[in-house]
C-alpha cells in the first residue's frame, strides 16, 4: 500500500484502469468458459433469457469502462466530448419518449444545439460556478420564453416541464460526471478519475444490492404502480451496501474513512431514488419495460443505464466540492 502511495497520480489512475479491465476480462473469460461447458445441454427458455441478459449487461459494462477510460485518457477535451455525446444520445431518447408538439420545435433545438454544447464547454473549461447555475437559472427561464413565442398555449406547462426535466437529467446530471473527472480538489490534483470510479462503483453496488434484496426479502413494494422492486427494506439494504462500498474504497479518494462512508451513503441515496424517478417518468410515457420501447422507437435503453448516475452525479459533485472546499 505504501509503494502505491508514492506513485504519481497518473500512475495510480493508470493502475486503477489496469485493475478494472483485468476484472472485466476475468469475468468475460469465465462467462465464455461457462457457455462452452453448458453448450452440451439444451437450455430452457428462462435460462436462455437470463444468459442473453447477462451477456447484454456485460457488454454494457465493457462499453461503460471503455468510455470511462477514454474520457480520462483524452484529458479535458476528450472527456467533455465523450460525455457530451452520451448526453446527446440520452436526451434524444428522453425526448422520443415524451410527447412533444409542433410548437416545441424551437425549444428543442435550443436544448439540443445550444444548451447541451454550452454546458459541456463550461464543464471542460472548469468554470464550475457558472456551470452550476447556467441550466437551473438561465436556461430554465429562457426555455419557456422560446416556447411562448411559438404561440401554442395548449398544455404549455406540461410541455415545458417535460423539456426541462429532460435537460435536467440528461444534460445537467450527466455533465456533472464529466465535471467530476476534471475537479481538482485541494490535495488531490489530477485524480478526478478516482472520484468518478468511486461514484460509479457505489451507485452500481447500491442498485445491484437493491435488486438482489428485493428478490430475496419479498417485501411489499412501497409504490406498486411505479416499481415492483422498491421496498423500504430493500432500499435500506441498498443504502447500507452503498455506504459500505464507499467505506471500503476510501483509500482511492482524498476522504477520510468516515467521510467516504457518508459520501457513499449520499451517492447511493440519490442513485437509487433517481432510478425510482426514472421509472415513474417511463410509466408516464407509457413504457413498461425497455424491451417494449425498443420495438417502437429503436431506443437502446441508454437512459435506463445512465439515470442513476445522472441523478447521483450532481448531488455527489456539489457535496464534495462544497464540503471539501469549505472545510479548512
Amino acid at each position: 500500500m505504501n509503494t502505491l502511495r508514492t506513485l504519481e497520480a497518473t500512475q495510480q489512475v493508470a493502475l486503477l484502469f489496469v485493475g478494472l479491465f483485468g476484472v472485466l476480462t476475468l469475468i468475460s473469460a469465465a462467462a465464455a468458459l461457462a457457455s462452452l461447458r453448458e453448450r452440451s445441454g439444451e437450455p430452457s427458455l428462462a435460462e436462455h433469457a437470463r444468459r442473453s441478459r447477462f451477456k447484454r449487461e456485460l457488454s454494457a459494462l465493457w462499453v461503460g469502462a471503455l468510455v470511462f477510460w477514454l474520457a480520462w485518457a483524452w484529458g479535458p477535451l476528450g472527456s467533455t466530448l465523450l460525455f457530451g455525446v452520451l448526453s446527446f444520445l440520452a436526451l434524444r431518447e428522453f425526448i422520443t419518449l415524451t410527447h412533444t408538439r409542433r410548437g416545441d420545435h424551437r425549444s428543442l433545438l435550443l436544448a439540443f444545439f445550444v444548451v447541451l454544447p454550452l454546458q459541456y464547454v463550461l464543464a471542460g473549461s472548469r468554470a464550475f460556478d457558472l456551470f452550476t447555475v447556467f441550466i437551473p437559472v438561465y436556461v430554465f427561464i429562457a426555455l419557456p420564453v422560446v416556447s411562448a413565442l411559438a404561440g401554442d398555449p395548449g398544455r404549455f406547462l406540461e410541455r415545458n416541464a417535460k423539456i426541462q426535466w429532460g435537460i435536467m437529467v440528461c444534460v445537467y446530471g450527466l455533465s456533472h460526471a464529466a465535471a467530476l473527472l476534471l475537479l481538482d480538489l485541494r490535495g488531490a490534483q489530477g485524480r478526478g478519475a478516482f472520484l468518478v470510479f468511486f461514484l460509479v462503483m457505489v451507485v452500481a453496488v447500491a442498485q445491484l444490492a437493491q435488486q438482489v434484496a428485493s428478490r430475496w426479502l419479498r417485501a411489499r413494494p412501497v409504490v406498486r404502480a411505479i416499481s415492483r422492486s422498491f421496498s423500504y427494506r430493500a432500499w435500506m439494504v441498498a443504502l447500507a451496501a452503498g455506504a459500505l462500498t464507499g467505506g471500503l474504497l476510501y483509500w482511492i479518494t482524498p476522504f477520510a474513512p468516515r467521510q467516504a462512508i457518508a459520501l457513499g451513503l449520499v451517492a447511493a441515496l440519490s442513485g437509487t431514488l433517481g432510478e425510482l424517478v426514472m421509472r415513474a417518468l417511463k410509466r408516464d410515457a407509457g413504457v413498461t419495460s425497455s424491451g417494449a420501447a425498443e420495438a417502437v422507437t429503436g431506443a437502446v435503453g441508454l437512459l435506463d443505464r445512465i439515470a442513476p448516475l445522472a441523478f447521483a452525479a450532481p448531488v455527489f459533485f456539489h457535496t464534495v466540492r462544497w464540503y471539501l472546499v469549505a472545510t479548512p
Binding site: R92, T100, H105, T297, G298
Partner: protein, 207 residues
C-alpha cells in the same frame, strides 16, 4: 468528384443516424440485393434519407429516389446532390401530352435499379395516410418480377415539421413489411387499397 459524392453520402447517412437513429426493422423480409420497389408513407422531406440510411450500405447505391425535376435541378448544388449522391430519378410535375410521367421510373426499373416511392403523392400534414396514387399499380403491372415492399416510417414528422428547416434529434424507425404482389386481373382500386393497408399495418400500436 465521385469520391466526394460517396463521402457526402456517408456523411448524410451518419447525420441521419445521429439525429434519428434511422433504425430499420425488417419485419416481413430481410434486406436483400434483389430488385425492389419500396413504398412508404410520406410525412417529411427526410423520409427518403431515413429509408436510405436504414438500408445496408451495399444496397444504397442501387436504390433510387424520385425527385421533382423543376425543384431538384434548380440550383447546381441540388442537382449535384440528387444526381451524384442519391442517383435520383427525375420526373416532371407538369403532365405533358406526349410523355408518360412514369416513363423515367420504368427506365430505371428496366436498368435493374430498385426504387423508393411515396404513393400518397404529397406529404400529409394531418398524420393520416391519404389514398394511394395509381403509379404503383402501373409499375406493378409492367414489372411483375419486381418485389413490392411496404414500409412505415415512424415519428419523422416530429423531427422536422412542415415549415421548419433544422431537424430535432428524435428516434425514428423504418419498418419493412412482407412483400406484396399484384394478383392476376386485380382491380386497380382494390390493389391500391390493399397496398395502403399493408403500409398502415406496419404502424406501431400507440402506447
Amino acid at each position: 468528384m465521385a469520391r466526394l459524392a460517396e463521402f457526402t453520402g456517408l456523411l448524410l447517412a451518419f447525420i441521419a443516424r445521429l439525429i434519428t437513429g434511422a433504425q430499420g426493422h425488417w419485419q416481413g423480409c430481410p434486406p436483400k440485393a434483389e430488385q425492389r420497389i419500396y413504398f412508404a408513407n410520406h410525412q417529411s422531406h427526410l423520409d427518403w434519407v431515413l429509408i436510405w440510411a436504414a438500408l445496408p450500405g451495399d444496397l444504397r447505391a442501387g436504390t433510387r429516389p424520385i425527385a421533382a425535376r423543376d425543384y431538384w435541378t434548380k440550383t447546381r448544388f441540388r442537382h449535384w446532390l440528387t444526381r451524384e449522391v442519391f442517383h435520383a430519378v427525375y420526373v416532371d410535375r407538369q403532365r405533358s401530352a406526349e410523355q408518360d410521367p412514369l416513363e423515367p421510373l420504368a427506365d430505371a426499373l428496366r436498368a435493374g435499379d430498385s426504387l423508393v416511392i411515396f404513393p400518397e403523392g404529397t406529404r400529409s400534414t394531418s398524420g393520416e395516410v391519404q389514398p394511394f396514387k395509381s403509379g404503383l399499380f402501373h409499375l406493378a403491372e409492367q414489372f411483375p418480377q419486381v418485389v413490392l415492399v411496404p414500409a412505415w416510417i415512424d415519428n419523422v414528422q416530429r423531427v422536422m415539421p412542415k415549415g421548419e428547416v433544422v431537424p430535432v434529434p428524435i428516434l425514428c424507425s423504418v419498418t419493412f413489411g412482407a412483400p406484396l404482389a399484384l394478383e392476376p386481373g386485380e382491380d386497380k382500386r382494390l390493389f391500391l387499397d390493399r397496398a395502403r393497408q399493408a403500409v398502415l399495418a406496419l404502424r406501431p400500436v400507440a402506447p
